[in-house]
């Protein structure tokens, strides 16, 4: 029988903000590209996000935040990812994130940061090219 691998993606919303328009459009675009999307819903703590990624054994974690709390929350999430030994997962982020923060976020292991106006095609391609499958 043939093996049926699918790219599994966790779309997670840390922080208290409720702007899920972007996260949902991304989820939908990735789904339409044939991936399996696990969505956490709003306002997830770093612990919940990382534990969910682990249980769902996803290939990719997409973090969406527009509240400005990324400087505190993202390092926490990346720390937990290392601690749990799932740092082979691809992590990207999106939302309102000032340009000058991007460098720091990449240093802690976030592969790419996408701002408002990113075409979904770019994202789909990014995920496809950066997953091992």
């Amino acid at each position: 029988m043939s093996t049926e691998r699918k790219i599994r993606v966790l779309i997670a919303k840390p922080g208290l903000d409720s702007h899920d328009r972007g996260a949902k459009i991304v989820a939908r675009a990735l789904r339409d590209a044939g991936m399996e999307i696990i969505y956490t819903g709003l306002r997830q703590t770093p612990e919940q996000i990382v534990e969910t990624a682990l249980q769902e054994d996803v290939d990719v974690i997409g973090l969406s935040i527009l509240s400005g709390a990324h400087k505190v929350l993202f390092p926490k999430i990346m720390g937990l990812i290392k601690e749990k030994g799932i740092d082979d997962m691809l992590v990207f982020a999106g939302g309102i994130i000032p340009h000058e923060d991007i460098h720091d976020l990449k240093k802690i292991g976030i592969k790419e940061v996408f701002g408002p106006g990113t075409p979904t095609g770019v994202l789909v391609k990014f995920v496809q090219e950066n997953t091992r499958k």
Binding site: T3, G34, I38, Q48, E51
Partner: protein
């Protein structure tokens, strides 16, 4: 194979990363998967498996969340497999059931896994059964399987569960009509959720009336009860009914139902293995395409071909 052994060890120790990885291997039908499943198979049978199905909007996920909460309060460990459909057009899937259960995601005693059915017929992912086994082998006391019940196809859930709960909600009246044919036989417990809504009692009596008319099912008489998952009302009673059903199964019915399950599974496994090997054989010999052409040209038909193949197999 070292990887496989490590995973098995991990699963048996309840290691969450191992459980997750093992389910992925099974889902992807990787070469190691059958071996792992057969080793784990020896360690299964301890968990009580509850299937929860019902139409979209009936509040299944919220109900499950409340069940988890109460089971945890009673010191039980819980595994959840939530199955959603794969889009037949894109092959992708949106798995959103765990949103309602997220507050249990960091609880060591709970493991939740979302699965897409990857277009398996029957609404249940092929791998669901094996995922349930993994959670069973990992030591979970209760394993809950959630599927979207759309009607007939849902009967598959019987094959993996000990107790099947069908969840309905008032105001989805048409759906009750539409799905009754498919679910009448499979439900051990009917739940009318969202009981705070108007017409909850009406739905309740409708179901009872349907059950009265259906006299075929022997032994266990399905229970019907009301819950309001949002507030947690009726959850304790639901658990009591599940417990009752479990007791009923213990008195012999479980043995019978397990035998049934083993039988179905054995038949399916034989079908699959033999079919696969025959097809591969034909492909290797280069006969596969020719056969297909002949059938298309109406020179023969699939059944005659199958008959001929079987005779040949028997001769060998």
């Amino acid at each position: 194979m070292r990887k496989a052994e490590q995973l098995v060890q991990g699963v048996l120790q309840g290691n969450r990363r191992s459980i997750a990885k093992t389910i992925t291997l099974i889902e992807n039908n990787e070469p190691e998967a059958p071996k792992i499943v057969s080793v784990l198979y020896q360690q299964t049978g301890k968990a009580h498996v509850i299937g929860v199905t019902g139409p979209t909007g009936s509040g299944k996920s919220t109900l499950i969340e409340k069940l988890i909460r109460e089971l945890r309060r009673r010191g039980k460990t819980v595994g959840v497999v939530a199955v959603d459909p794969t889009s037949p057009f894109t092959g992708g899937a949106f798995l959103g059931d765990r949103v309602r259960m997220q507050e249990h995601s960091t609880d060591e005693g709970v493991f939740i896994r979302s699965m897409a059915n990857r277009n398996a017929t029957g609404g249940l992912a092929k791998a669901t059964k094996d995922a349930v086994r993994v959670l069973d082998a990992s030591g979970k006391d209760i394993v809950i399987v959630e599927t979207v019940g759309a009607g007939q196809s849902e009967v598959e859930i019987v094959k993996v569960s000990h107790t099947v709960i069908v969840v309905l909600a008032p105001g989805l009246g048409d759906d009750i009509q539409a799905i009754k044919a498919g679910i009448m036989e499979i439900a051990d417990i009917f739940v009318v959720n969202k009981a705070d809504r108007q017409n909850a009692d009406k739905s309740l009596s409708e179901i009872q009336a349907m059950l009265e008319m259906n006299t075929e099912k022997k032994g266990w008489k399905p229970s019907v009860l009301k819950t309001t998952a949002l507030t947690g009302e009726g959850i304790t009673e639901l658990l009591a009914r599940i417990e009752e059903h479990k007791e009923y199964l213990k008195k012999g019915a479980l043995e019978a139902s397990r035998k049934d399950q083993v039988e179905t599974e054995l038949v399916e496994a034989i079908k699959q293995k033999i079919a696969e090997s025959m097809v591969e054989d034909l492909k290797r010999k280069g006969e596969w395409e020719k056969l297909k052409q002949k059938i298309l040209a109406k020179e023969t038909d699939p059944y005659s071909v199958a008959d001929r193949l079987l005779r040949k197999l028997r001769r060998n």
